[in-house]
Amino acid sequence: MVLIFVELDNGSIKKTSLEAVAYGAAVAKATGTTATALAIGTADAAELAKTGAYGATKILHANAAELANENAMAYASVLAAAVKNENAEVVILPKSGLCDAMGARAAAKLGASIVSGVTELPDVSNGFKVTRSIYTGKAFATVDVKGAVKILGIKKNAIEAVEGAGSATVEAFMPALNNGDFVAKVTGQEKASGELSLTEADIIVSGGRGMKGPDNWQPLLDLASALGAATGCSKPVSDLDWRPHHEHIGQTGIKVAPNLYIACGISGAIQHLAGVNSSKVIVAINKDPEAPFFKAADYGIVGDVFDILPRLTKAVKDAK
């Protein structure tokens, strides 16, 4: 049996989680078994049943007031209980901070193999071999996964999720919670509201030092809003506090894999490229024709970002 954990965001299943369901369903098909999803937190039955359209036959739903915060330790306990309950041999999680943390703790509870950053479907013809991203996307490695229970963290775009027609049966699942998982007290939260998440976004518009200062971001934000894109930045920009730290994309920041990445005034240092090299299509806009980003990009424009960005925004709006 293949068990897939799906992440909820305000009651909706995240897109990367639907990809995880499609991935899990494909693994189930290849190994002659079924796929069951697991969701933790508040969501209505119709939303949960949607996992069926991506190949899950059933979805377990754990919901309790104590699980309202994304508490990785409590979530790991629920996940491990579900694995035991369903006799799952393969567990799929989308790659995210929460999923890495809960997958790790569940792996230790279960004595399971855990492989993170998986980029393709496994080869099950002889054993269970997966391909994973290493060196921040600079290379890949095959891994022979040998544990009786195998936990895989899959990267965005590891599979193309195609919505089908099915509907999953929703089943309440509520194992006993451990007090030990609740020793930490959340004393506050600062969260930008209404922002598109960088790891989920299909399009990202990102700015570097070429934007020349925190007050010059409006043309970039305008293009992002016209495209329905999330916004990111390079390390120098977040170090200078021009943009918040959670927008920092790169080797020591967030690694992204959108369909389209538009870099504005970013030179393309190798550490930044490491965070964006999983993007499908990269556009670089820079006034320096020698900027290294042009070597990593699919489309390039040499020019002044403050001239080009408003024109691109207008072109997007005109094309609608």
Partner: protein
Amino acid sequence: MKILVCITNVPDTTAKISFTDNNTKLNKAGVQYIIGPYDDYALARAVELKEKLGGSITVLNVGEAESDPQIRKALAIGADDAVRVNAEPTDSYFTATQIAAIAKEGGYDLILMGRESIDFNSGVVHGLVGEMLGIPSFSPVMKLDIEGTTAKFAREIEGGKEFLEAPLPLVLGCQEPIAEWKIPNMRGIMTARTKPLKVVEPIAVGDMATLGQYTLPAPKGACKMIPADQAETLISLLKTEAKVL
């Protein structure tokens, strides 16, 4: 305050990655090794906490002898002693089992490491170690203070941060801006030479995951340059040619 800081020995962030031996080994020629950048933040915060609260810092690496220069650097930055588990860290579960065994022996109040290593980017070792020790784990932690036996810290979450309090002992995966990286001074470098570095053999772990072949990504095609005065055509190319709009 007894702090254990786990460090990785990894290729520099600017390293060009290539492979040898039929794509089964990293080509180490010309590659410079460093303390993992996230681990370096963890170490820097540990040194600050020790300065403030007293206590000791043990640095731990799961790695082969080639890690020793980086371990000495950590000692020069301010760790008191070091342990190296003599094994190549190619699987998270294996690595975490080694760390958990050393941690259990030492009875540490705080176990710090980077949010992830920059060679495998798994980001799961802190969670594994926490569960193996039966203590809480959190990541990525970007601010950390200790008051008595309570840790007060901030964790990055999607689109912002969360502030937490938890009793020690804890395992934390760290990232910037928890502290500024520290550069060893001459006195540190001199004293690091004589600080104890204990090498121990790994404990056996069942075979969980074995690395096979490495591959490099397919080379990128040439960048299509669009003249600045025709910038608008980019949007139609993204629609019709790249099909991403």
